[in-house]
């Protein structure tokens, strides 16, 4: 293809918690769209941030058109022509499209004031050139998310660029805008720029990308031409992991259906969902971030309101109105966001543990300290929570122990259906194993367990059944024994199970 415009050599990035990138080398050529692929946590965003100057690599070098770039920062990167279109929109809602496109680069007129007409004219020209159908004088807050993304793209187009990075650009776009985007990309390609394209929508890659590189766990796994590879090949490069003994699987003895989710559909999202959770069984819900699993579960708590469908609990209709109603029915949901929705900071461990179950420690209407201490000590023992005392403030504990406290909190409510959302996120390996044990014990005692996880090995390791979601639609269901990584991943990327050839 074209000349190599941007090159990274032996890039390593070490964070206090983990090594994000390890000895990664890649080349990005002009006139070429290069896909950067990998699972969640593979290191793609870290690499992009290094290219944009937001992070400094711990080791390694960056070369731009043969010249080494030491100590790159955001301003320098932009000045050199490295332009990024991020997933998070950086627009000012109160300003117009044109003002946002030219933000920071306004033309100052004679009297020191911003030349508005120039801005609008130039924006119009830009949009005409790239066939973008947007009014430059429209106020950004009135636009749809998809249109806002187009404005973000316009911002990048307005800058002088040699390298254009697109981070999941089609996530929020409808088909119509995607067509416009792809035309823009082709134009940029024809102009000789190097394009780096990140996406988890594998199906769109052949249409727009020329080459690809794969990262896994911070390591560079390989590159190739899109045309030469199958989807399955690419996936194999992305995930090729051994299923190890970290997952103590014990087959469940599924009993009656505890919860039946029937024809439930959320507004403007996905399709009608059918799901069954049985007692004594772990049902794993897998999917990429944004596939709608958490929101579906929150429908049961009355936090999200579906536009259709019903919930059937133990054979009878269940009115999913509130959290306390769900608790009374024996349903407990443990949040994926410990910090924001899980722990009550500045309060002790026992406070957090007993909060949903205060009636258990009451004598009449007075809370009994004795009862509370007894209950909490036994839970701490049962779950091996490492805390100096029950009165320790919960935010002082490690992430893993905080999670154990939250699980204890859930167990005290004696749930019949326990929903665990990303139960081992951000937790060390040892505690992870403890939690898997707990899940097994729950299963054995007849509780119906639903586990939501975005970690494929985990979901495969502990579930009796796996249901895969993609954009709010169930694309596949697997029993523990028939599940394979490739099959599940294909479903997660949108392919329905029937068409999978394993």
């Amino acid at each position: 293809m074209g000349e190599c415009i941007l090159e990274v050599k032996n890039i390593t990035k070490v964070f206090p918690e983990a090594v994000a990138l390890s000895d990664v080398s890649m080349q990005f050529r002009g006139g070429e769209v290069h896909a950067l692929l990998g699972e969640n946590g593979a290191g793609k965003s870290t690499l992009i941030k290094i290219l944009c100057g937001a992070y400094l690599p711990t080791e390694g070098q960056i070369f731009m058109e043969g010249q080494e770039l030491p100590k790159l920062n955001v301003k320098k990167a932009q000045a050199l022509g490295i332009v990024a279109i991020h997933q998070e929109l950086n627009l000012i809602p109160g300003l117009t499209v044109a003002e946002n496109v030219f933000l920071g680069k306004e033309k100052i007129g004679v009297l020191g004031m911003v030349d508005k007409r120039y801005t609008i004219r130039k924006t119009k020209e830009l949009f005409e050139r790239f066939k973008i159908d947007l009014d430059p004088t429209a106020v950004v807050s009135n636009l749809s998310v998809a249109q806002q993304q187009i404005v973000e793209i316009g911002k990048a187009l307005q800058m002088e660029s040699k390298v254009v990075i697109l981070d999941e650009p089609t996530d929020v776009l409808t088909d119509k805008e995607t067509v416009v985007l792809f035309d823009i990309i082709r134009e940029l390609k024809a102009a000789g720029k190097a394009l780096i394209y990140i996406s988890h929508r594998l199906d769109e890659l052949p249409e727009i990308c020329d080459t690809f590189s794969v990262l896994r766990d911070g390591h560079y796994m390989g590159s190739g031409n899109i045309g030469d590879c199958t989807k399955a090949d690419i996936i194999r490069l992305m995930i090729g992991r051994d299923l190890s003994e970290q997952y103590p699987y014990v087959p469940g003895k599924p009993g009656d259906v505890v919860l039946n989710i029937h024809d439930v559909k959320r507004k403007n999202f996905g399709d009608k969902v059918q799901l069954e959770a049985r007692s004594g069984e772990v049902l794993g819900l897998y999917g990429l971030v944004g596939s709608g699993r958490t929101e579906l579960m929150k429908c049961i708590l009355g936090i999200e309101k579906p536009e259709s469908g019903e919930f059937i609990l133990n054979g009878s209709h269940f009115e999913a109105k509130s959290v306390s109603k769900a608790h009374k029915a024996g349903i407990y949901y443990l949040t994926e966001d410990r910090k924001k929705e899980g722990i009550v900071t500045n309060t002790p461990v026992d406070f957090n543990m007993t909060l949903p179950s205060l009636q258990e420690i009451q004598n009449g209407f007075i809370l009994s300290n004795k009862k509370e201490q007894k209950l909490c000590s036994s839970m701490v023992k049962q779950l091996s929570v490492k805390t100096p005392s029950l009165k320790y403030e919960i935010q002082q504990l490690s992430g893993g122990n905080q999670q154990k406290v939250l699980i204890a909190k859930a167990l005290i409510t004696k749930p019949k259906l326990l929903i665990l959302d990303e139960p081992t996120r951000g937790i060390d390996v040892g505690t992870k194993r403890d939690i898997y044990q707990i899940i097994n014990e729950l299963k054995a005692s007849g509780v119906a367990v639903i586990v939501i996880s975005s970690e494929l090995p985990e979901i495969m390791g502990i579930s009796d059944r796996i249901v895969v979601f993609h954009d709010g639609v169930i694309t596949g269901e697997f029993a523990h024994n028939e599940a394979t990584e490739e099959a599940i991943t294909l479903c997660a990327f949108g392919t329905k199970k029937e068409s999978v050839a394993v």
């Binding site: 924001k340 929705e341 009550v344 309060t347 909060l355 007075i366 809370l367």
Partner: protein
């Protein structure tokens, strides 16, 4: 993470109970500067003087614990007392007048709670508005003049009377503090208050209704304003149109001194009592020493700043 118990204990103790030390130091210092301070009659009058702020600060404490704020307490104090007094003028028995005054306090509290919890209007704005409305309503009701209290029965119960050696306002205030402590420490509802203030979303997912909790604390605040209003009215046998002006500041200051976090979820009502005492002792001391009222405000401000710095200085440590 190895936070040794001793290191954790020392800073936390000072942070929590440092304010008691401050009160003791002030009392000791003042008793050296003037011998009027420790006279039993003076201590009694200090206790009576703080009862109004004490009653108000309990309601404010409940609201702040949930992460809210109540700026309307001073105005609501005037409105409830004025309503009771006007009912007294129409000839109703003073107990009925009290019930009507309480009803007004509960209703305004309910309104504030609903605006904050259901309509999600920021507490600062809501109570700023009700503060102005209540003050206006008071002046419409009393026509700009003071109104007599509903009679000597009322005056005795809330103001002038005593149970043995304890003046009634002091007794009422102490009972309120005990009940408040009990509710916050020993009941389900108390836990719910701390949970909503500490992390509303986590509380919700634990089956707590943040809406209900917020509405109820504003109702409690309304009740406290009514009681504070009765005490004010009884002490002076009348209620003036400007009664309670600025009282919200002393109530909030007492909570701040006590280490009640304005973000919610943290604080002990027992220490609020100490905060109330500190402000009362300071006022009394400065009066006894003949310091002009403008210097009094400066000293009070310095003390509050100092106490808050003390709290944040010791809080930093425990974040490590």
């Amino acid at each position: 993470m190895t936070l040794s118990k001793r290191k954790f204990g020392g800073a936390a103790m000072l942070r929590k109970y440092g304010i008691i030390l401050v009160l003791l130091v002030i009392c000791v210092a003042v008793s050296f500067m003037t011998d009027s301070f420790l006279r039993p009659s003076n201590l009694q009058s200090v206790a009576r003087q703080v009862s109004i702020n004490g009653a108000l600060s309990i309601g404010v404490c409940f609201v702040i614990l949930t992460g809210g704020i109540d700026l309307s307490v001073g105005s609501l104090l005037a409105l409830t007392a004025t309503t009771s007094a006007l009912m007294g003028e129409s000839g109703l028995h003073w107990v009925i007048c009290i019930l009507i005054g309480i009803a007004v306090g509960l209703l305004v509290g309910l309104l504030e709670g609903v605006l904050v919890a259901r309509f999600k209007i920021a507490p600062f704005i809501t109570t700023l508005a009700t503060m102005t409305i209540c003050r206006g309503a008071t002046q419409v009701a009393d026509g700009g003049t003071s109104v007599r209290s509903p009679g000597s029965g009322f005056d005795n119960f809330f103001g002038v009377g005593s149970l043995g050696p304890i003046p009634m306002p002091v007794l009422i205030m102490v009972v309120m503090f005990v009940v408040a402590w009990f509710v916050l420490e020993k009941t389900k509802f108390g836990r719910h208050i701390y949970a909503v203030g500490g992390n509303e979303k986590a509380a919700h997912l634990s089956g707590v209704s943040p809406k209900k909790v917020k509405i109820i604390v504003y109702i409690i605040s309304g009740l406290c304003c009514a009681i504070a209003g009765f005490i004010t009215c009884a002490r002076l046998s009348s209620i003036t149109p400007t009664a309670g002006e600025g009282a919200e500041m002393d109530a909030i200051a007492a909570c701040v001194l006590a280490g009640v976090s304005l973000d919610g979820g943290k604080g002990s009502v027992g220490l609020v009592f100490v905060g109330v005492l500190i402000i009362g002792v300071l006022n009394n001391a400065l009066n006894l020493l003949g310091v002009s009222s403008y210097w009094q405000d400066i000293v009070k401000g310095i003390v509050i700043l100092g106490a808050v710095l003390l709290e944040s200085a010791t809080a930093q440590r425990s974040k490590e």
